[in-house]
Subunit: 351 residues, 2 copies
Amino acid sequence: MRVAGVMSGTSLDGIDVAIVESHGRRISTIGVQSTPYSEATRSAILDVSSTTTTAREIARLNFQLGELYARAVQRACRRYGPVALIGCHGQTIYHEGGVCTLQIGEAAVIAERTGVPVVSDFRPRDIAAGGQGAPLVPFVDCLLFGHTRRTRIALNIGGIANITVIPSGAAFDTGPGNMVIDALVREHTGGRQNFDRGGRMAAQGNLNRPLLDALLADPYYRRQPPKSAGREQYGAEFVARLKQTGLPLHDLISTATVLTAATVALAAAPFWPDELIVSGGGAHNPQILSHLAAFLPGVALATSADYGIDVDAKEAIAFAILAYQTWRRRPSNLPSATGARHPVILGKINF
Amino acid sequence: MRVAGVMSGTSLDGIDVAIVESHGRRISTIGVQSTPYSEATRSAILDVSSTTTTAREIARLNFQLGELYARAVQRACRRYGPVALIGCHGQTIYHEGGVCTLQIGEAAVIAERTGVPVVSDFRPRDIAAGGQGAPLVPFVDCLLFGHTRRTRIALNIGGIANITVIPSGAAFDTGPGNMVIDALVREHTGGRQNFDRGGRMAAQGNLNRPLLDALLADPYYRRQPPKSAGREQYGAEFVARLKQTGLPLHDLISTATVLTAATVALAAAPFWPDELIVSGGGAHNPQILSHLAAFLPGVALATSADYGIDVDAKEAIAFAILAYQTWRRRPSNLPSATGARHPVILGKINF
């Protein structure tokens, strides 16, 4: 069965569509495609999320986003062929773990335009069952990477880095992913570059050991999971403190790169993993990967692409897989990750 | 299969639960129960519907209403026994026919608390298919009251009166239902009575023929369907104009009662119905019924109760039936009523 997964994150970049094929437990990625949001869409989403609004604005944006999602799926299907099911995460406009959550992007519009059933609205049921409504991807990590004898850790290096321990299902944020590095690179290049392509800037700088040690003193890294790191933790304030050291930007980038790898290693080591499977933008950064290898001797290093999962589209792929679970009426939250009282079938089906 | 239907209308009275049993096409009502909203809930809904709000407020109210719906269903099931499926209309906080619509009352919460699958969110798909997203009950009228040789008209006398012509599926508002009568009764009794119980006040007054003729001159009654009458059309302004005539309140109530029956008859007569099947609060008013009988000679008069459908819970019953249609993957909008381009499967299923 071919399934399209549709993801749009809180970074408001746009819409990722992944088309996957499931053969029982074996999943292969047929293709992935991204459609950026227009500036108008981005600001409309920001408006309803962060300021006062009206039921009318939210209702209208819900239908408008439904149209955009439908078009993004249709575009991907023109390129990669038809699908029999769609899983759409929707755009989060409010989330309060354990209390409530609100994703918009009307799935009835996607179902009507594409003629394909759509599973949407994955998070509310986990919250109804006492969970945080997040993270949902660890379930997919366990499904994709589970091994009878080996302990594997799925590591996603987005703005924040997080790991899923497989098969135990422990899942938490380890600390910064790319967001500190990205902010420093933007600073260094006057906004001409948004990330450290190929880890080149980090390679040109030197690790500042005292600074690294100071950063690692943050008690977050020693706290027991479950725990989650907010984006605000590694935002403008964090970067400003780094710059106050007066160190050359290359050295700061180098040190931030080591910080990402070191905090992942600190989090992963106690689980004695056999293998680390990396995804997210950070999987493209050889500096992060080589530091990880150094910090975790004896741990095999792979990327999700080695398992057929595009490193840049893991979330979109995950929502295709979650949709398929719902379609087959199988639970797909991981109580060890979300804190829910029991497994539940996530989402709503639109025929 | 036993199904619970849950309705809460824009009047914000509260939650109606109907439990029905379907034996193929035969539907019987097992029981109905109403749970009024608290003043706090009513004002919270009004707040998010009519003034500026935040995504947070809407997200929270969505989950809170889900809990209230779940409790209302559980209460009904304690009295009438368990159900295998729930259909929940939700609380409309915005509706713009043909453009967008927004119902809240998180179905995932209802499904989690009751352990029963829930169909919710019936209107968006019809809008996605080019319809107004309303009315949805005419489909159920055709299903319940369809007859191979007879033309029947289902008449619902709520605040506004509307008819569904069966089997043609034409469906539209005929004009005022109870809302003018109710407003006059409240006026007359200083708020001690909210409606003309048993039509007694109307019976004590006299029809004022010139006033009736003047009211019937409204071009709305001669306009071709589809058409819909807004509540504002028969609101405070309309009542104020009636009072300016200086007629005794009993006479105004009597005339308003005849107006309801006359405008229904004007709308129904061109379809040459064999039978009129009445539901809604107006079905309890013998004055309305006897005027209807007089205006429509040769038309058999029945109430929906004669067909096993509680006159006061037809909408809740309808959403049980619509949920069952969705569960069986059958379309359940009536394009002749909503203007949709084609029939579609309404709603979203939460397992």
